[in-house]
């Protein structure tokens, strides 16, 4: 059948507010109760690949860290299939958050070709009226990144760099760092998926 105008409108978004931790990371406020550890905390189960750390910071338009944001991550397993590769983390006072996970495999893109490995991120906080959608790519995948259809849609190549995390090794383990900037110079690319 052809699509008719859908009968309902999506509920409008509202900010998660400054007290988002009560609902989403309650242990941080001492109210985890029987639900500890918090949902989405701890290592992400996403296949058998080598473990990596994804570490990022979030800053506002004045360069101040977002100490109050909560971030969710969704990713494919190491074989490129989405199963349960989900996690949730609260930023610390320096606006930093991290996930212990595996590097995702390649997922089929809109044109039927594989996209470069990436994770999806969703950021909520006080002052964010609607959760911000972005992606994190990996700088040790230059060929795949150059061919990625989503990165390719970002017209200004300098802005593509805002999504590409930089690899280092910490205690023999790969770590990928990304600086997320909500506004202004170096502003991260956010999507309307």
């Amino acid at each position: 059948m052809l699509n008719r105008l859908p009968p309902l409108k999506e509920s409008p978004s509202q900010t998660a507010g400054p007290y988002v931790h009560i609902g989403m990371t309650p242990s941080l406020e001492g109210i985890g109760g029987p639900n500890q550890p918090d949902l989405g905390s701890g290592p992400i189960v996403a296949g058998d690949g080598p473990r990596i750390t994804i570490a990022a910071t979030i800053h506002d338009g004045s360069g101040a860290p977002l100490g109050d944001a909560v971030v969710e991550l969704w990713q494919a397993d190491s074989d490129g299939v989405h199963r349960q590769g989900w996690g949730r983390a609260a930023c610390d006072g320096a606006g930093a958050f991290a996930f212990d996970t595996v590097k995702p495999g390649r997922v089929i893109g809109p044109d039927g070709r594989p996209m470069a490995p990436h994770v999806s991120l969703w950021i909520v906080a006080r002052g964010i009226n609607m959760g911000l959608q972005t992606r994190l790519y990996f700088d040790d995948e230059p060929a795949a990144n150059a061919d990625d259809p989503v990165l390719g849609r970002i017209m200004d190549p300098r802005r593509r760099q805002t999504l590409i995390a930089i690899r280092s090794e910490v205690d023999g383990r790969p770590r990928y760092d990304l600086a997320i900037r909500l506004q202004g110079e170096g502003e991260t690319v956010f999507f309307d998926f």
């Binding site: 978004s13 507010g17 007290y19 309650p26 969704w74 309307d192 998926f193």
Partner: protein, 248 residues
């Protein structure tokens, strides 16, 4: 892989009507000033990265997760306040129930005070009220929980701004691009129409979609009022040769 092309219009979520949602930068709500992106969002169709999402089984739900009156009780006493049941149906834009999805909620206590380390309001904490809970929708998309009515409270925005009584909701749906956080308000509350956060939503009809209705038929006599709050997530497009995918 299926022989059907993996993406096209089929199974895609309807484009978000951004005019129905609050824009990123709403000057009446001052915290948005430095947190709103200045660049336009890059609009793209969804891939599996957006059309899939985490699922949560009933195994994560504890018996008191949907009872905020008792789930933080320290001494066996119940939370103080106007007792009420909040319930509703999670639907998609096609009016189909969203089954088996996680709904999380959090709120201030009856005095308008949150149990949070950054909270500065003078109203007293209730030792037996934590303020958070969760539920998984049933086969018809319904959730319900018991709580006390949260109080209004002042907040640092304008010189003397007060939030109307509200409950925060987080809903997952079945796709990461359906992820939604919103707030529920109470029918008849005049403070909604003075609230910079509710009024960040440009369309009055959209604000009204967030106002729970008093439901006398589902009250518990001599115990609790009832409010109904339905939540709508993005819906999926159908195809010309529809295969009735899960969630479609």
């Amino acid at each position: 892989m299926s022989t059907i092309p993996p993406y096209g219009d089929e199974g895609q979520l309807y484009q978000r009507d951004r005019a129905w949602h609050p824009p990123a930068d709403t000057p009446g709500y001052k915290s948005t000033a430095l947190r709103a992106p200045r660049q336009a969002l890059l609009a793209l169709g969804q891939t599996k990265s957006e059309l899939t999402g985490p699922t949560f089984g009933h195994g994560i739900i504890q018996p008191l997760d949907n009872d905020l009156i008792r789930n933080f009780s320290q001494d066996g006493s119940e939370a103080i306040g106007q007792r009420m049941i909040v319930y509703g149906q999670v639907l998609d834009e096609n009016a189909r129930p969203v089954r088996g999805t996680l709904v999380e909620f959090w709120q201030a206590n009856a005095g308008g005070r949150y149990r949070h380390k950054r909270e500065g309001y003078v109203a007293a904490l209730d030792p037996n009220f934590g303020g958070c809970g969760r539920a998984i929708t049933d086969d018809n998309g319904y959730y319900h929980f018991r709580t006390i009515k949260p109080g209004a409270y002042p907040w640092p925005n304008g010189g003397n701004d007060w939030r109307p009584a509200h409950i925060h909701f987080s809903v997952f749906g079945h796709a990461f691009a359906q992820r939604l956080i919103t707030q529920m308000y109470f029918e008849g509350d005049p403070m909604i129409w003075q609230d910079p956060i509710a009024l960040a939503i440009p369309d009055r009809a959209a604000v009204e979609q967030l106002i729970a209705r008093l439901d006398r038929y589902n009250t518990t006599p001599m115990d609790a009022l009832a409010y109904r709050f339905d939540i709508v997530l993005r819906g999926r497009r159908s195809t010309l040769f529809e295969n009735r995918m899960e969630g479609n």
